[in-house]
């Protein structure tokens, strides 16, 4: 897979805003950004209200995903270009989520909303309506999704890549530094995990680093390309960003995203937790 198969530039995107069969989708947790101005023609997906089950802690089911994409006017044949704020965290999450339900023609807008805005490219507030479709999804591709028991079993055997900040990894903080620190669960990380913050994979403007730079970053951190890999963070969105870098850009096979991540693992009774930088031993 080449970089062009999974990433598009802001310049390409601006030239293809009206290309038939290409649908731009803004994905965020806070959709006020979209409402204040979005890429012309883009539809919005609310990460929390539309992709998460409203009752159970899980995703909307296959039928729910079909209903959502049908209502958004996205068809099985469309190429979906995802972008969003927070350095594409939620867009990367949606990318992984679209792949989970079998949509193959999906790409990320490199740099997301940040790059688009810093470039001074056009945004508008037009209401976007697309004719409804009859979208059909596949069963979840569980080769890219990890659950807790598998994570516990993988300690010391697989690459566990903790992509949170060093202070979250060590147990000093329970959430990123732009959020209040009111979490209830234990701090720390999964034993044997390496810490490669998601931000290492991104340039300052939100675009992904080159494959050469990425390979060096993960290699230096102790990533073993011959092993299976599970990436995790706090709620699974930053680790989607790293899953994208490892699986889609670098082409590593058998890389899973653990969407339960630290909010689940750090609340489990009886599982091992490691504190500190993990580099002492």
């Amino acid at each position: 897979m080449s970089r062009e198969d999974v990433l598009v530039s802001a310049a390409w995107s601006e030239e293809n805003l009206n290309t038939p069969g290409v649908v731009f989708v803004e994905v965020d947790e806070d959709t006020t950004a979209y409402d204040g101005g979005h890429i012309p023609g883009a539809v919005k997906v609310d990460w929390k209200n539309e992709l998460q089950d409203p009752v159970r802690r899980d995703f909307v089911d296959r039928a729910g995903f079909e209903k959502l994409l049908s209502a958004k006017g996205i068809s099985n044949d469309d190429t979906v270009i995802l972008y969003g704020g927070n350095n594409n965290w939620f867009a990367a999450y949606a990318y992984w989520y679209f792949k989970l339900y079998g949509h193959q023609a999906v790409k990320l807008l490199d740099g997301g909303r940040k790059k688009w805005e810093l470039d001074g490219r056009p945004l508008d507030k037009e209401t976007v309506e697309r004719p409804a479709t009859e979208y059909r999804a596949q069963d979840q591709d569980l080769t890219i999704r990890a659950f807790r028991d598998e994570v516990v079993d993988s300690i010391g055997k697989q690459n566990l890549v903790d992509v949170r900040s060093p202070d979250e990894f060590s147990g000093k903080l329970l959430a990123p530094a732009h959020l209040p620190q009111e979490q209830a669960q234990r701090g720390g990380h999964i034993p044997s995990a390496i810490n490669v913050p998601w931000s290492k994979a991104a340039n300052e403007d939100g675009t992904f680093k080159s494959n050469e730079e990425l390979a060096e970053i993960y290699g230096e951190a102790g990533f073993d390309g011959s092993r299976k890999t599970i990436a995790y963070c706090r709620i699974g969105e930053r680790s989607s960003h790293t899953w994208f870098a490892l699986h889609e850009l670098l082409g590593h096979q058998d890389v899973k995203n653990y969407d339960g991540s630290w909010t689940e693992y750090g609340s489990l009774v009886g599982v091992p937790v490691e504190l500190g930088s993990g580099k002492e031993g």
């Binding site: 947790e29 939620f90 810093l118 060093p166 990123p176 530094a177 732009h178 620190q181 913050p197 706090r234």
Partner: protein
């Protein structure tokens, strides 16, 4: 508990907990405060820690830990950065000019 990762609204008065280290201020150009700037919190080694977007009034806020921090702002009109030292809990003001 916050189950999301979106930043709270920037610039609104908040209660600061006894142990919280809050770094807060405005991003400005020569013409005054600017919203829509990408404000990045870098630790003492220059490593990225967090990012928020400044409010329409130019405000930003981070919940950090004691230490030496750099605040770097990116905006359509230019970039800039400032340093702040947080010895302990409390509100630590810092402003950033971009050009």
């Amino acid at each position: 508990m916050s189950d999301g990762c979106g930043a709270p609204v920037q610039g609104v008065d908040i209660e600061v907990g006894d142990n919280e280290v809050v770094l807060t201020g405005k991003v400005s150009t020569a013409d005054g405060p600017v919203g829509g700037a990408y404000v990045r919190l870098l630790d003492a080694s220059g490593e990225f820690t967090a990012e928020v977007v400044s409010s329409p009034e130019g405000d930003f806020r981070f919940f950090a830990a004691p230490g030496e921090w750099t605040i770097r702002a990116l905006h359509r009109s230019g970039n800039g950065q400032a340093s702040v030292s947080a010895a302990g809990p409390g509100v630590h003001p810092v402003s950033v000019a971009v050009a």
